[in-house]
Symmetry: C2
Subunit: 597 residues, 2 copies
């Protein structure tokens, strides 16, 4: 019963009219991404999402994965066939280095279709999403030999990848991890230990699974300084590069989870498994962060994806379900009742989600373009600043887009009334699936700490100043544009609150670090609001230009302006409460002793 | 692995020290509720909740209910035995009319133990909660004969009850309902139709199930003015009052739900079932509201209940789980890491939930005492005003306590990191169970409309003015108390925002009803914040008095003051955003045509 339609027109508006994507065509790969190619890729991605991935979303949730006695894991019905289509379409390497078989297209385009894939089937999309994270780590940190050995098959989708970080006693604090690596004298290691919550740890979609595993080499220092990263293939490669002997790594059990049932979340047991060091000894955490940063953007994307598909279904239901009459008089007098979309409080839910989705999409693509610049520009200074800005935006995207994505799945479910609570209608799955995105790849509280403790002060606050400058200049530049006053006024107010909060940290968190910790979560959301508000101001500007030029779909552009107004009036005012909370500091939060709880 | 400890000490503080419960001992039933009796009832309720109901909560979720081919439904393992203990303890009639076997104790006391029962096992507690709703309706609207026939057995718990409102095509808009009642000439009716989402519709806990069913008598007017309420017993009573022939009402299927798996949510098929009119013909909706009001307070209680049990488990986990080091330096230097309760962002989650739970408990008991006055005072004027105030507070309690209860279950789950997503740890169940409370007994958007559209303007706003007066006078009376300045300052600011929002409706909603609808949800939450803030100010005052007198547990009282400060600094500032949203009106919310979505 649920439905999904990939929002291709909106993606194109954001890329072409808002972010003016063609500005970047001096970057490698961008010249190939002509407007025609971009539209064709989006259309084909949309087709795959709608026709292949989405129809197995609800059945995948109901059926889940099955572990057999031999430790093998079967994915739900239809997943193998869908994965074949993904492989055959060359999607795995869409944005990847052509030297290893990728197409080298922009990461922004990869992200744009990635949204569709996760909207259609989040649990399924994780199988390739994690592979791409592993590919990125091998690409950056692997030796030439390792890259040649693993990347082409992964780019093909013939092999998949995983990330093995968490152990039963440690998740956030990886310094505590115990998995051991014993050198064998031949350059390889024997890896032993247990990893938990390993997404796609074992399944039947690929011929080999390339596990990236954090472990401690015998005799290494304690804590995070003694952690190394290893490649542990499910099948150790033969001399000719083909998968050979079964390695000592097994799925011990599948976790019973709240959602993403279609993805196999495994307890992985390593028992003298053959592994190969990737990157430098004891520098595993740094190498792992290459995976994590990409993965965090991908998780932020999941928040948007679920928010979008939940929204679409809530809209369909609200247009279809007849209950009550509009406060302004019957809207459908020929029917026994009006469709519930006439009721302001139903609109409140729909408009709130819509205002987030359309700005969240722009936010992600804006950050993805900065990431493209960081990786592809020929100007070292530009690369560096873009990399820092991507780093700054990553925890905001991960934390805010997943928190809001979940909230919006709940809101969309609410539009269904009692039917929202019944599994058959599909809304419960969106809520249950969206919930994990707030937790994995660094729980959102950790994102907030990363933002405030690490990204904000980095290089004297250069990245955050660059962000403030961009937003501030936009407000300044549009001061004389009367049609923009409404938007820049609200945006400037939000920016002021954000700058005041930043200043508060500067003045109050050095001497008392708990003040930073106590305000970090509110700061992350305050930052998110201002960024989303900026995206709305940019969209309003673009829509006004299109309307003035008589270009584009008039109803689409007018809806943009109405939604932008809604965001400014209804959502931006939250910045003040965040600032008030941040400025209250840590005292009342930390007043109770642990025993008093 | 989850745990539950009924917060008896806090309940006693609220009843004795904050609300000064003994003030009411002129009311019938209150004189029996001496401090000793109250404490004994709470302790025994706590024991039942902790030792009998809680141990079958997680297993009940996992096992769920089973419908057999003959339409009978089995509850999960242990539910029958637990229900026997509930019956034997006389809990069903704790607050009920002694003329029918009840104990006549205050509704406030009934609510206080009700919190424990729903914390321990929400799905289980619904079996008796719905029975009590049905008892209330029969008590108010039934004939003497009906009361004598059904109430004593229900008060014993030998028979249970249900509410049958929803049909596949109508929930909120009951005017659309189609279930038919055909008079038989002997005073009885034949009832035919289908009802859905019927909690406890069929089960194995009682000897008879007394269904209260909304139906339309043949030839009755269309819409809500043609609806009557019927008693339809599962077994029609014999002349001697014992259950006789099986009636034409069957459970057609069980719904597959997101949560409350231990409760049987049934599709009920009525096929020429024998029913008896209760109350007046075509006045069924009014009679049904007697059930609904009590049920709505009970659902608000569920929000608090889940928030409390989720909080307790998050606290236990936060004290136990070792990850990272305090920002201020190692708190447990002898261990490899500190317990995560040292981290400010973990505290933020815990303190936010705690600040809600302790105020929510006071709010519920404050409203329950008003309900007791409304039902038991010998002063007609006092009865009337208290009834109006209870009516005003009911949608706030239902809407705000369930929204926040769910949010807090999610927050508590977040404290667990990845383990929160795994069913084994129990936190997912709290989230899944809490979700329904925002939906049933009138979705929260309907509560907001009830508040703004019906309760607020009733009798020229008499009830709301009485509320504002009570809070305003408290602030005024404590102006000279320096220790209270911090609290009254924040409370007064919130009250000002609430009064400004009320005035905005007066000025802007008459001519344009959509302005009321567009602001209703924010108004409900704004009202909730001010009420909860008032509860904190009252608690701070009481704690200061106890500390000054050297009475009570010093750590407990100091924690009260710290939590009160947290609420004022961190949660009250949200009132401004609600006011800003309300004042923005309906324009941007309603700007899009339905087709533009």
């Amino acid at each position: 019963m649920p439905a999904y339609r990939a929002p291709v027109a909106d993606t194109l508006f954001v890329l072409n009219d808002v972010l003016k994507y063609e500005r970047y065509n001096n970057l490698p790969g961008f010249a190939d991404a002509t407007p025609d190619i971009v539209e064709a890729v989006l259309q084909e991605g949309a087709r795959l999402a709608e026709e292949v991935f989405f129809p197995i979303n609800q059945t995948g949730d109901q059926e889940g994965c099955t572990r057999h006695e031999d430790g093998s894991v079967a994915t739900p019905k239809g997943f193998r066939e869908a994965f074949e289509q993904y492989k055959e379409g060359g999607w795995m390497g869409l944005g990847f280095d052509p030297d290893y078989g990728g197409q080298g297209l922009p990461y922004a385009l990869h992200s744009a279709v990635g949204e569709y894939f996760s909207s259609a089937n989040m649990a399924f999309a994780m199988y390739f999403g994690l592979t791409q994270g592993a590919m990125a780590a091998i690409h950056v940190h692997g030796s030439d030999e390792q890259k040649q050995a693993y990347l082409p098959k992964m780019v093909e989708g013939t092999w998949t990848g995983t990330m093995n970080l968490t152990e039963p006693h440690c998740g956030t604090d990886l310094g505590l991890l115990r998995t051991k690596a014993v050198p064998q004298g031949d350059g390889s290691y024997r890896i032993s230990g247990q990893k938990i919550f390993i997404s796609a740890g074992e399944h039947d979609l690929s011929e080999n699974i390339i596990h990236l595993v954090l472990a401690r080499i015998e005799g290494a220092p304690e804590g995070t300084k003694g952690i190394s990263l290893f490649i542990v293939p499910k099948f150790v490669l033969n001399a000719d590069g083909t998968p050979g002997d079964r390695n000592g790594v097994m799925c011990g059990s599948l976790e019973e989870k709240m959602g993403i049932h279609g993805n196999s979340t495994c307890v992985m047991n390593y028992d003298d498994a053959t592994g190969y060091l990737i990157g430098e000894e004891n520098k595993g955490l740094k190498a792992m962060f290459t995976m994590m940063n990409e993965a965090r953007l991908g998780v932020g994307l999941q928040g948007l994806s679920i928010s979008e598909v939940a929204y679409q279904n809530a809209v369909d239901y609200a247009k279809d379900r007849l209950q009550g009459r509009a406060l302004t008089g019957p809207a459908a007098p020929d029917k026994k009742a009006d469709p519930i979309i006439v009721h302001p409080d139903v609109r409140r839910n729909l408009m709130t989600i819509r205002a987030f989705n359309e700005a969240g999409r722009a936010f992600l693509l804006w950050a993805a373009l900065k990431s493209d610049v960081a990786h592809r520009s020929d100007d070292a200074g530009e690369r560096e600043l873009s990399d820092e800005m991507t780093g700054l935006l990553t925890p905001v995207i991960k934390g805010v887009l997943t928190d809001k994505g979940f909230d919006h799945a709940v809101m969309a479910q609410q539009v269904y009334g009692g039917h929202g609570y019944i599994e058959e209608w599909g809304m419960s799955q969106y809520v249950r699936d969206a919930r994990i995105a707030m937790i994995y790849e660094g729980a959102n509280g950790i994102q907030a700490l990363d933002l405030v403790g690490r990204k904000l002060p980095a290089n004297g606050g250069r990245a955050v100043q660059a962000c403030f400058k961009e937003v501030g200049e936009f407000c300044e530049d549009n001061r004389s544009d009367e049609a923009m006053t409404f938007f820049t006024k609200h945006l400037k107010k939000g920016l002021n609150d954000l700058q005041a909060a930043t200043m508060w940290f500067v003045q109050n968190a050095m001497a008392k670090p708990d003040n930073a910790g106590a305000g970090s979560y509110d700061y992350m959301h305050l930052f998110g609001l201002v960024t989303l508000g900026y995206m709305w101001a940019l969209q309003a500007k673009a829509a006004q230009a299109k309307l003035a030029a008589g270009e584009g779909d008039k109803q689409f552009m007018e809806a943009k302006l109405a939604t932008a107004r809604y965001f400014m009036e209804r959502i931006m005012p939250e910045t003040a409460a965040h600032l008030a909370r941040i400025s209250s500091g840590a005292d009342s939060m930390m007043a109770l002793s642990a025993e008093a709880f």
